[in-house]
Symmetry: C2
Subunit: 335 residues, 2 copies
């Protein structure tokens, strides 16, 4: 070996007086089936250690048509949930002897697609896709490339998917909030529980709104479309929407179900301008979790998505080897 160059099995073979294939077998614990002499193996291993040999994984991958890489694409680490997802993914991948390759692809469908293609081009052994904007195209690409894949957070109609039980979680949070609130009177909108944030058109929001409505109806036989303020996911929008509501009611609503942590930030900003007395009469909940949000200056119920369980489920799907569409819902917890 030239000094400084990484050594190859050929270098090892030469120094150990053996053949490349023997080296390969020795290094991969395949020397039993190849029936190499223990002595030869020891010699090889010794040289390898001396040389500080490490396999070229690209070469191996090329030969074996796999890579030892576990690919994950996710939008961004904009919140704790995605951070937890990626961390858990890394853990599980590692446990399977795979090297996690995590790619942030944003929310743009094209960017996500090209990330997936790129990962596939590296022959990743599996692919986990979180928060897909257009899952169908991605699934199609994975399928064509015969890469085991699973969707997380945003489901795909044509592939295994693991999602939070949005409806159930929303119902749970809604019920919890209604339980602590004064009974709403249909005559006075200020006594209602409002749903703030998200997009009606997105499945996740729609499901949460469904859970919200179910419980609202069940508990009080009162549901008015005006209770749902689907203003989008940005904190600015949420802040503005709440400000408008406040102006309209002349006060805060009796209860507020905030649909995401981003929106909650907007809510907090709006509330920071309000006197203490205005706030204490209201009840707040958020469908998302952040350790610091727990510590805000008023009681707050939060729904925490179980990233750990979800990734676990997702790997189970991958292990099962089926690429049949299948939707698994994981119940979030109330914090």
């Amino acid at each position: 070996m030239k000094s400084g160059q990484k050594s190859t099995i050929y270098d090892i073979a030469q120094k150990a007086g053996a053949s490349p294939s023997a080296v390969s077998a020795a290094l991969n614990d395949k020397w039993k089936q190849r029936r190499l002499k223990q002595e030869t193996v020891d010699r090889i291993l010794q040289v390898a250690r001396d040389e500080g040999y490490t396999a070229n994984l690209q070469a191996r991958g090329l030969r074996k048509a796999e890579s030892g890489l576990a690919g994950m694409v996710l939008p961004d680490h904009e919140n704790r949930f995605f951070a937890e997802l990626s961390q858990q993914f890394a853990r599980e991948a590692h446990a399977r002897g795979l090297c996690p390759a995590i790619v942030h692809a944003g929310r743009d469908a094209d960017a996500q697609l090209s990330s997936v293609e790129s990962l596939i081009a590296y022959s990743v052994d599996l692919l986990m896709i979180a928060g897909a904007t257009e899952p169908l195209g991605l699934a199609h690409t994975c399928r064509k490339a015969r890469v085991p894949h699973v969707f997380v957070d945003h489901p795909c109609a044509e592939a295994p998917s693991v999602v939070t039980d949005n409806t159930g979680g929303a119902a749970l949070l809604t019920k919890t909030l209604l339980d602590v609130m004064e009974p709403p009177s249909s005559a006075d909108p200020a006594t209602w529980l409002y749903f703030l944030g998200g997009e009606q058109s997105l499945p996740a929001s729609a499901e949460r709104i469904l859970g919200f409505r179910q419980q609202t109806k069940a508990a009080k036989a009162l549901f008015d479309p005006g209770q749902v303020l689907a203003c989008g996911y940005e904190s600015d929008k949420a802040e503005a929407a709440l400000a408008a509501l406040y102006a309209r009611l002349g006060q805060l609503p009796a209860g507020l179900f905030v649909n995401s942590i981003g929106c909650f930030e907007g809510v907090l900003r709006f509330l920071s301008g309000l006197p203490e007395g205005d706030i204490v009469r209201s009840t707040f909940g958020c469908f998302d979790h952040d350790p610091f949000a727990t510590l805000s200056r008023f009681p707050l119920r939060m729904i925490r998505q179980r990233a750990d369980l979800m990734v676990g489920e997702a790997f189970r799907q991958l292990d099962a080897g089926t690429s049949e569409p299948r939707l698994i819902r994981v119940a979030p917890e109330l914090v």
Copy 2:
């Protein structure tokens, strides 16, 4: 091409009536220097598109002795800072036409080393290492493999490193806090500004303590070792340490410099059990940033590390191609 198999340049060559090398050149915008006929190129490109061809990056990497992968290893996404680092890394890598491969390796030195080795085995084109526990070993490994590398957050004495200007940031925060506090009296420890969290033995903490001490001395000619409570980074420890201090003083100290967001969580937990009146007399600061912490129920000064600038600097080091040790400090901002 067999149906369902990924097509290769040979498939394309055949269908386009050209040679593999021509296909390769056409696909890589090298057909000018190879002087292929425009017509041939068009034919090749057309076929490639029809086949949905994508290059096998492992094969390319093997041949070119590179990979197109940008490797990053970082401890965990336990806080916003690391999340921002990885996100920014992904962005910059992408901008350079590299595919980011981000690996969470925890705080364990061996785990970090094996992650680095693994990444190197994939022939990553560059390596960014954040929060290294034992940087020297990692640097040595990178050096031997001739992989451009840079350390972030935790510096390495033998490689380019980009860190937050801890001393400066701490000085800034300290000064800011002292400015709003009543002038401390050396006679009464309850009027002092305390430093809470971190480990004296760790460079980052030591630097912050230095900044803290400098400003404390400069402003008031008062610095007592008892002001520094380096209780570690865990929230539990911080909570306990603050509780002990509270018990000793019979009240909260006049000012508190909290050394990390984790510790701050502990502080918040302790404060949540205290009456409002106890809290308002104190001044709080935190060397770390979290959007929700901003919105706590008392004013709070925070230092935000500039992950964006740091990653930018780090890439600049990588681009410069030097592996000379060099320490770059990036000033954090006061929020």
